[in-house]
């Protein structure tokens, strides 16, 4: 579906251009507003829709198989940690859903460099960062070479 942008709402801020994984949201040079320049390379991932501060971007289902009259709108609220969806069917029925998106404050992840510096022995071991502790088991499992045999089972 491609996404499209409402002329009256877009202020050309470029958040959608910055986030689009497919590089298809661009700023139109005449109107100084965003436009989907390549609808057939749109995955309907809604990254741009979620990122738009003006709620100026919406989606109209792919013309080759989606009849008109539907809508799937989204509101992603980082501060609240939720995402809310409103689906409208072609025949007017509606469905609403709300889900959590994150359980910790944005920006709160402890950096990999904030942990104690690992020892040389740890570097030479098979354990990855935070193991075995983060596995919640006593030790990292391992195979023996003799357990692997060539051929057809």
């Amino acid at each position: 579906m491609p996404t499209f942008v409402y002329m009256a709402s877009c202020d050309g801020c470029g958040h959608c251009v910055d986030i689009c994984p497919s590089d298809i949201m661009h700023i139109d040079t005449t109107y100084r507003r965003a436009v989907n320049i390549e609808p057939n390379m749109c995955w309907e991932c809604y990254s741009c829709v979620k990122a738009c501060p003006q709620n100026a971007i919406d989606v109209r289902g792919y013309a080759d198989f989606a009849p008109l009259g539907h809508s799937v709108r989204v509101l992603r609220e980082e501060a609240k940690g939720t995402i809310s969806w409103r689906l409208k069917f072609r025949d007017g029925r509606e469905k609403n859903f709300v889900s959590p998106i994150r359980t910790t404050p944005w920006g709160s992840i402890k950096s990999a460099s904030d942990y104690d510096v690992p020892s040389r022995d740890a570097l030479m071991s098979q354990e990855l960062a935070h193991e075995p502790l983060a596995l919640n088991i006593e030790r990292l499992p391992a195979l023996k070479r003799s357990q692997l045999v060539q051929g057809i089972l």
């Binding site: 995955w43 198989f65 539907h70 072609r90 859903f97 950096s111 596995l135 919640n136 195979l143």
Partner: protein, 614 residues
Amino acid sequence: MGLFSRRKTIFVDSDILVIGGGMAGCGATYESRYWGRDLKIVCVEKANIERSGAVAQGLYAINCYMGMQWDENQPEDHVRYARNDLMGLVREDLGYDIARHVDSSVHKFEEWGLPIMKDPETGRYVREGKWQIMIHGESYKPIVAEAARKAATEVYNRIMITHLLMDKTKPNRVAGAVGFNVRDGNFYVFRAKAVIVCAGGASHIFKPRAVGEGMGRTWYAPWSSASAYALPILAGAKMTQMENRIVLTRFKDGYGPVGAYFLHLKTYTQNAYGEDYEPKWYDSLKEIVGDYVDRHPVPTCLRNHALLEEVKAGRGPIRMVTKEAFQDPHKETVGWENFLGMTIGQAVVWASQNIDPKETNPELTTSEPYVMGSHATCSGAWASGPEDYAPDEYQWGYNRMMTIDGLFGAGDTIGGTAHKFSSGSFTEGRIAAKAAVKYITDLGNEQPEVSEAEYEDLKKVIFQPLDTYAVGRNEIVGGTVSPSYLLPIHGLQRLEKIMDEYVGGISAHYTTNQPLLDRGLELLTMLKEDLAFLGAEDLHQLQRAWELQHRVLASECVTHHTMYRKETRWPGYYYRADHPKLDDTDWHCFTLSRYDKESGSWDMEKAPVYHIVD
């Protein structure tokens, strides 16, 4: 260079260069920093790591989690599962390695803030199936990207990497990579002691079912443009199992996932007349694959086979029976949120066609084939195994190092390790990164050297489509038809048509044979020649041009592998009509290829398969 004379060449030096900032790349970046505190770690991404890769729009499940802390599964169990699903052929050493580490990655995701659903009574993660846990994963990628950004010395977004650079004096030693900034057009030369390729697999190499505006609604992301394969192939790395393309049974048109529906909601399939069709095709499958048909769970490809045959017999459409399950409001919510969390397009399709699964059993279909290394398939580069137990044939130094010195990989890039999914790809990135830090530590002060002649030559090649377009455009009044250039979309559609008709796509019912493959290669060769005449109107189209180059090279590799393996190993994924049966006598092995870019030739060989005893 008159038109673009303001283009700068920017040099970026690093110890570790991570190419691609998806799940694998974020894992690699995080782990590189943990072990390499003083190292310069650079992550380069063609989009924006906040929302890039296959997990850009989110996920509703993590499909690879052992649950060792609750003794739910052990790594051996996962190896047996993946081996069974891939009809006997996986790198069990690599698969075990991911499985033994993956729980620690998932536990970190939870600590970082990913909402994982839990059973209120037991406190355990809610299982969707034996290997899957359920999450509210709309922000899965932004969360993981936050960890990667904090770990990286620098993240370069919007740079498309086109080629790896090799050392000036050692022909089999990687030294960096080149690419261009899709916003300002600057040329980037990355020099690095170790490179970890974490780029994406391949959508859009076979013709998709959607034909118009909807062609972007492929199951795998349209931005997965085969860089995972083209970069190592061009550098001369050995590749494995590239014939093992995947076909997905999914909800029609939107390719909405079926995992939660089958496993959690307990919905099931039937043909147009309400019949359970899978048992009908048991005998025909047994003819092809022998005893593999009796394995449990039934391998993904074999389930596809039954659906395909039923449709060919004229008893489609195949439907998912949802009406019963969706009477339960909790299950109804799970069913919808499943899509909204990871395949919003399916919700759009259902809303537009008035399909409420409470009242209508929705249609299923099989997708066009994709090439990837992280789902129920295992195409990718041939990599060294873990130091502590990998057999000698799988072991040449550092874990996840390819057959090129200093070149590592993870995620879609590494072959032989099916069923890693998001968590396993992230974990494999961590494994590769730790090995890369060891590699650099052992290296001491040795620094690879890039060749100026090499990157200057590449610079001309990379930007040529802009000049080709600028010159050719003046010849014609307007429009898209030029005698002097092809647009990237033209080349893409030709590629998709060739692969579809000759290498086993949807319109050939996933079937091919030697004469078809021979003809396909002839046409691919002409397409490769024509790529010299690609025209790009702007930097966005230049990105499309290089995505196409990567797809074409990967497709050529897929075709050679398909030709080499003279059996039908994965019916339901593809069929060699001239070798219609699984043949364990001659083909219980991995297929390996190596591309020689000077001669354009492909060397093929077999490699042995090692199994865990029992």
